[in-house]
């Protein structure tokens, strides 16, 4: 009994610590970003451009860059991941599914910088040639590469939720003459909505939070991007670039606003996943 309570308290303490750290980081960003709000520039920041020489520190282009790169990456990655997960859990036969699963696991362990490096040499020239203009370092290149980076997260999530579909459902469908593809479309996918949405949101979170790919591939221009073939700077890359040059100025203070946005993005996505999952569970059919 005593060890039971001790373990309970220790685990409670650990949980409390992680909650406290998360909240403290948020509080810290709000407090340090406060001079922006009192200076009256806080809301203007979200709508204006980044012109440090004129004293205008707007982060609107970075917000646009982050959103376009992350959402495009998810758009590229979802179909590929869905197909790959289906091959691993439902459609594949022989040694292929196991091999693919191992390969995907291995992919999660490759450092991001390696992807970025490979992207500069392999992907950027291709995009440059295809587009026929610019340097090739643009939203499209970054989104494609980021799509590859987040795919393993999605594939593992998807294939896990496919694999957790009860065997009796599959057996019922098989005995009624369902082909493997019908089994996937009519039984497996409808039964795994929850896992599918979680996987997509998690991958989106990873895409929003990733720094290195955008920093290396997207071109880092601070101008508002007009098309996917133009360079852009993400919030994360912006933080990395400004931190490297400066540590106490209004310019630096804007980073706290970037941090708050990223923080809120993640929070909203987590809440969204929970809500969607619960709602689907109730009225799926």
């Amino acid at each position: 009994m005593r060890t039971e309570r001790l373990v309970q308290r220790l685990l409670g303490l650990a949980a409390g610590c992680s909650v406290a750290v998360t909240l403290l980081i948020f509080g810290f960003m709000v407090i340090l970003g406060l001079p922006l709000a009192t200076g009256g520039t806080f809301f203007r920041m979200f709508t204006s451009a980044w012109l440090p020489h004129q004293g205008v520190y707007g982060i609107a282009p970075m917000v646009a860059g982050t959103l376009s790169i992350a959402s495009l990456a998810v758009v590229f990655s979802v179909p590929v991941s869905l197909g790959c997960a289906a091959l691993i859990s439902v459609l594949g036969s022989g040694p292929l599914p196991a091999l693919l699963h191992r390969l995907v696991r291995f992919m999660t362990g490759i450092p991001t910088v390696v992807y970025g490096f490979a992207g500069i040499f392999l992907l950027v020239p291709l995009v440059r040639e295809w587009a026929g203009r610019g340097s090739g370092m643009c939203i499209l290149s970054a989104a494609l590469l980021l799509g590859v980076l987040i795919a393993p997260t999605m594939i593992l999530f998807f294939s896990d939720s496919f694999a957790s579909v009860p065997r009796t459902y599959l057996e019922a469908a098989e005995a009624l003459g369902a082909t493997p593809v019908q089994k996937l479309l009519h039984v497996v996918i409808p039964c795994s909505w929850r896992g599918l949405t979680s996987g997509v949101v998690l991958a989106l979170g990873r895409a929003v939070g990733d720094t290195l790919i955008a920093l290396m591939i997207a071109g880092n221009a601070t101008a508002m991007p007009g098309s996917v073939l133009e360079p852009a700077r993400t919030l994360t890359a912006h933080i990395a670039l400004v931190v490297a040059a400066d540590f106490d100025s209004l310019e630096f203070r804007t980073l706290f606003a970037c941090g708050i946005i990223l923080y809120l993005c993640t929070t909203v996505m987590v809440i969204f996943t929970r809500r969607i999952g619960a709602a689907w569970e109730q009225q799926r059919w």
Partner: protein
Amino acid sequence: MSAQPRFKIKVRNLFFSYGENVVLKDLTVDIPDRAITAVVGPSGRGKSTLLTLFNRLWEDIPTARMLGSVQIHLNGSHRDIYHRSCSLSDLRRSVGMVFQTPNPLPMSIYKNICFPLKLAGKSDRKQMMPAVETALRQACLWEEVKNRLREDARSLSGGQQQRLCMARALVLKPEVLLLDEPTSSLDAAATEIIEQLILSLRETCTIVMVSHDMAQVERVADRGLELSDGRVVLK
């Protein structure tokens, strides 16, 4: 329509094993048409395996091996169901199966019955409802569920779920119905309803059922097959 054959299913020199474990040895048996054949015998002698040989449901098991032939009289002629020309989906639509534990899909009662029709590519909504009603009536479930067709099938009782699974198998109008201990998870009252249902189906299809319950076999079956040492002893 050609004349009905005397035997619906012909099994010839069948060997079946899971890895090293030989379950059926040189099995040769004929299953009569439009009759209820019960397969009996102690656990682990391959009764359920024998059923899955008739709809090829064993094929996903990696270590399973089969030799010999199984012919089923489908669409007017005996066909080797393991021949390349035999489509697996068509076979399973003609040879329905009901499992030991009821396995309704996580969808409404109506959608559960429509599901096999949808798989077979029949998507005409006007024909769906009559087909669903016929199948549910055949399975003696219509009166109990006609006002709650949109409810989740998993909200039904065990016996109702099993009759739903029967209806789901019947909606495709199978020629053969395989029942793997269909009452083993049900109480006495539910068992009696299912037994009546099985008897009423004898007119429309050939039924092969596995049962542990000798009393049940005597009440329901026209013929018993006992599996012993991988071979068949007629009862």
